[in-house]
Amino acid sequence: MSVQETAVQATALRELDSREAPLVRVRDLTVRFKGARDVFAVNGVGFDLPPGRVLGILGESGSGKSVTLKTLLRLLPENRTDIGGTVEVQGRDVLALEGRELADHRGGVVSMIFQDPMLALDPVYTIGEQIAEAVMRHEGLDASAAMKRALEMLERVRIPSPERRLKAYPHEISGGMRQRAMIALALACRPELLLADEPTTALDATVQMQILLLLRDLQKEFGMGVIFVTHDIGVAVEVCDEIAVMYAGEFVETGTVRDVIRDPKHPYTKGLLAANLHGAQKGTRLDAIPGAPPPLDTAPTSCSFAPRCAHVQDRCRAAKPPAAVLGPGRMVRCVLAEGAAAG
């Protein structure tokens, strides 16, 4: 790491630290899965999330989005993962939580919506029981008060005839309604931070939009911070304030939605935007990014995108490109952005 690069990163971090006390503070997060084949899933991710803001993590399958998200709840299998770096929520070190403290953190401070609610809900408990259980656990209410809260929550997520759904099992209601129930469950204990792991991917297009709008409304209503993981740029634009583009376990570009979409700096972000279906002409080929993401069985020592990049230079292959900070929260990890950062 060159002296200049360290200096740039130091300014970048000072910049981040000087903002108001963040809800989430992540620094140098690394996650490695141990096994027959090691996987370096996350390689040095850092970001801040102020209270009440929505951060979208955008990236393709296997880029480490979900892993980053699950680290915030410590949901990764303990004995098979090495987690490094700092993860703080409301100033508390999440990686150091144990036992009951960890359980209080999960669902109480931070909760999560999963990709497929059919898989993420227990099939042999009713919707009401599953929501009430979380309320009883975190707020110590008795069963009937917790059930009342569950009903309230189902009303909040606009499920029709909520009394009936309370007694329904997950397989008895539609996919969209299941995801609404999942959201009701996640919000039942008023978390400060909501993690959404591709919450609309398993739904069909019309329902997707409804769920997105619902999430956006509820976020404003509850005033919570949200980290929203998706591979769909359209979805990210719809709900997020800021976007982080993730590739091979690293954030390659961050910024406000407006900056990233209007003026993408990283070739990968440009490629993603170009490969979008919106506005594409029938019969013309989509500009897909050639190649495939690198295997992550070793920690990257150079730019991970270099093999697929049209603007690749020798130094991309020699060392990791430095993080160029273009403004508050605006970062690009690419040699092409260096000039802009210096000015």
Partner: protein, 317 residues
């Protein structure tokens, strides 16, 4: 729930009639003359014919079957050729004994099996899992009559703690739930419990491992449940299948205990079945087989109904 039980009960009828028919036919297809055991070897042809008529063996099979079925419906299973006593009387005593033995064995096997299976599945791929799996594999593969004999040698012959054979002190007295009687039950029940223990523990291990790998377990942890809360969910998910396996095991034990009942001279249905076979006692044989088959039919019914009560997906979809 009630409607489902009723519907299942109606389905049982044709099955029961089919089973009774098979019972009847199988016994008659089998070679051997049932009268050999009661008649002296030098009996005249006339006497032979007379006996044949007395037992109704001279009529065509369908007629015999219908007569037998009508009697069965009236609770009359005929008279044992060998002992001359009513089959129903012999059976009711034997069924009581077998029921007690198999239920006891299933309970022991189920409790131990669930325990081993649960621990093995929860601590999968650790030494605890390997130990528990080792025990259950032994349970499935050890010949239980051999195990019975070993237990008799150790606990009855060498240590003298428990009686080796019989079902109570002083021959076939009535059963009482006191230590004097219960100690006769221990060795056969433990011997018998080894098989359901092995099977239940292997099933439960696979179930728990499968449930733990499902995403909803992560969901439960994500909403902040402690280990005990997560455990409760795992148990409720595993219960329907585990109970179904237990029910079927009970069915197997009710019918398949000939070897153990013989080793321990336990006066149950298996013992009776063995006697009936060796003496070609057709009425007794038919009665025993019919009762054992009915056990199975109704056990399946009970398992189905219980499963639908526990698992919402079974009856509603």
């Amino acid at each position: 729930m009630f409607l489902y039980a009723l519907k299942r009960l109606i389905y049982v009828l044709p099955v029961a009639i089919g089973v009774s028919m098979v019972c009847f036919m199988l016994v008659h297809i089998a070679p051997g003359d049932p009268l050999i055991s009661v008649l002296p070897p030098d009996a005249s042809t006339e006497l032979r014919e007379q006996m044949r008529r007395a037992y109704g063996f001279d009529r065509p099979l369908p007629v015999q079957y219908l007569l037998w079925l009508m009697n069965v419906f009236q609770g009359n299973l005929g008279t044992s050729i060998a002992t001359g006593r009513a089959v129903s009387e012999e059976l009711s005593k034997a069924v009581g004994n077998t029921l007690m033995l198999s239920v006891m064995a299933t309970l022991i096997g189920f409790v131990l099996g669930c325990l081993f299976g649960f621990v093995a599945g929860y601590f999968r791929d650790t030494w605890i899992d390997k130990l528990a799996s080792f025990i259950s594999v032994i349970g499935v593969s050890v010949p239980h009559y051999w195990l019975g004999m070993v237990l008799v040698i150790v606990f009855s012959v060498q240590l003298g703690w428990l009686p080796a054979t019989g079902a109570g002190p002083g021959g076939s007295g009535a059963w009482v739930w006191d230590w004097e009687h219960v100690k006769f039950l221990i060795l056969p029940a433990v011997t018998m419990s080894v098989i359901p223990m092995g099977i239940v523990s292997r099933t439960v291990r696979a179930l728990v491992a499968d449930i733990l790998s499902q995403e909803f377990v992560q969901g439960l942890r994500a909403k902040g449940l402690l280990d005990t809360g997560v455990l409760r969910h795992i148990v409720k998910n595993a219960a329907p299948t585990a109970l179904a396996v237990m029910g079927l095991q009970l069915g197997y034990l009710l019918g398949g205990s000939i070897l153990i009942e013989t080793v321990f001279s336990w006066p149950g249905t298996g013992f009776l079945l063995g006697q009936a076979i060796f003496q070609r006692d057709i009425p007794l044989l038919q009665g025993v087989i019919l009762v054992l088959a009915m056990f199975f039919v109704f056990l399946n019914l009970a398992v189905d109904v219980m499963q639908s009560a526990l698992d919402p997906r079974v009856q509603r979809s």
